[in-house]
């Protein structure tokens, strides 16, 4: 019970802090919009190609904005030594992990919740299908589960900001591939048989990596 209470306390703390300063969310959001803008000029997002390219553009955007958020979120703990404060408390270390992970997930979902309608309007595509949104959630979860663990490490290194994408992206490739293919499947209204293997892959990835992160988090925070 203490575990759950601690996890919820961490999530609540992150959310209330962010509600007040909106530093993280605004940075992530502005960055995401800029990335989409760049894509607009870099790729031909005309009506024909839009169908095939939308999923990819969106996921690249989420990946970059997401890594920004992860960095900031863990840097917040490091800066005033707050991580020590969390470690001094008589709580399971994994409660800290889950708390940060879900807070990071919520932030990422919030940014996605604004970016998706924006993209829909700009490019006249309906992104509001249950399947597609489900993929967004599953993919974000996988990304954030590994990302939180890695960000906890990189924030303790010298090369902090640069290092997180370098460590994270190779590990997150299965998430990207599966999320993009599944998203595309839903957008192009393919049959479930074509989409299901990708969904399975996402679920497997999410489960495996959350489990490993949970087991390994202690080693990343204890000295």
């Amino acid at each position: 019970m203490n575990f759950l209470r601690a996890t919820l306390a961490v999530i609540a703390k992150d959310l209330s802090g962010e509600l007040r300063s909106r530093e993280l969310l605004s940075a992530m959001f502005v960055f995401a919009v800029l990335v989409i803008l760049i894509f607009n000029f870099a790729l031909e997002l005309d009506v024909k190609t839009r169908g095939t390219v939308t999923a990819g553009v969106l996921w690249v955007t989420f990946a970059f904005a997401g890594s920004l958020g992860l960095n900031r979120s863990m840097a917040m703990e490091k800066d005033r030594g707050c991580m020590d404060g969390l470690l001094l408390a008589p709580v399971d270390r994994s409660a800290i992990y889950f708390g940060k992970m879900f807070a990071n997930l919520i932030f990422m979902l919030l940014v996605e919740a604004i970016v998706l309608p924006l993209y829909s309007i700009l490019y006249n595509i309906n992104l509001f299908q249950a399947g597609f949104l489900g993929v967004v959630i599953l993919g974000s979860l996988g990304y954030v589960s590994v990302g939180t663990l890695l960000a906890t490490m990189t924030v303790q290194t010298r090369t902090r900001d640069v290092l997180l994408p370098i460590l994270l992206f190779p590990l997150a490739i299965p998430v990207f591939i599966a999320a993009v293919k599944a998203s595309m499947g839903y957008l192009q209204e393919l049959e479930m048989e074509a989409i299901r293997p990708w969904l399975n892959l996402l679920v497997v990835y999410d489960t495996v990596f959350t489990a490993i992160a949970f087991m390994v988090f202690d080693f990343v925070v204890e000295e």
């Binding site: 303790q156 010298r158 090369t159 370098i166 190779p170 590990l171 490993i212 990343v220 000295e223």
Partner: protein, 232 residues
């Protein structure tokens, strides 16, 4: 500083001999492949170095787990050595794959699952080294390295499956009979011998290199300790 152990010298010689025999087999013993010609001989090295790359990763991941359990520095050195060797051999794997691909598929690069996964594995290796570089404290460096190499190792099969679901033109070599697919070939008994011998040789190359690298690491440690003593 201990002198070089006799066993290591024997291993060096043994490995060198194996390698020479292997080269001999590849160029003289194995027959020329009907469709692809001499370029097919690259295959004997391509798979062998790829095998060493994967073996290195497995060794590093196991060393990572052992380090986290025991906090013994020797496992950290082991993981680092394995990754360094893995980087070289995976790179060779990619390059030989490319050399082979060019005449067969008329392209230097294909986004096929095995090649893609090998590239990503290479990137994970590099990321591991960059992670280590950014950390001053040796204990933390070892711990984080161990965690990352374990994560990396687990991600590789998942990456492979996703890349495979995505696309396939890599020849499936052993145990299939589909003459229709491009770039494939059935292996005659001589080819099988050469292939297996090549794998055998490179396994010894791996062990030999690891041993040398571990010795080097231990000497470096001793030098560090002596330096510290002088500065006190």
């Amino acid at each position: 500083m201990q002198p070089k152990p006799k066993a290591l010298t024997y291993l060096d010689t043994f490995t060198a001999i194996l390698f020479l025999i292997s080269v001999g087999m590849v160029f003289f013993y194995a027959p020329m492949e009907a469709v692809m010609g001499n370029v097919q001989r690259v295959f004997y090295y391509h798979v062998a170095v790829g095998w060493v790359g994967m073996l290195s990763f497995l060794a590093a991941a196991i060393a990572g787990i052992l380090y986290l359990k025991s906090k013994d520095r020797k496992w950290d050195l082991f993981a680092l050595a394995a990754v360094e060797i893995g980087i070289v051999f995976t790179f060779l794997n990619i390059v030989t794959g490319s050399i082979w691909a060019r005449p067969i598929w008329n392209t230097w690069w294909t986004w096929d699952p095995r090649l893609t996964t090998a590239t990503i594995m290479e990137l994970i290796y590099f990321a591991y080294l960059m992670l280590r570089q950014g950390i001053e404290d040796p204990e933390r460096r070892a711990r984080f390295g161990a965690v990352y190499v374990i994560l990396g190792f687990v991600s590789v099969p998942l990456t492979f499956f996703s890349a495979r679901l995505f696309r396939t033109i890599h020849p499936v070599v052993i145990g299939t009979n589909q003459p229709g697919a491009e770039g494939q070939f059935d292996m005659t008994p001589r080819m099988v011998h050469t292939f297996l011998f090549s794998l055998f040789t490179f396994t010894f190359v791996f062990i030999d290199l690891m041993w040398h690298r571990l010795r080097l690491g231990r000497f470096a440690d001793q030098v560090e300790q002596l330096k510290l003593r002088l500065s006190l």
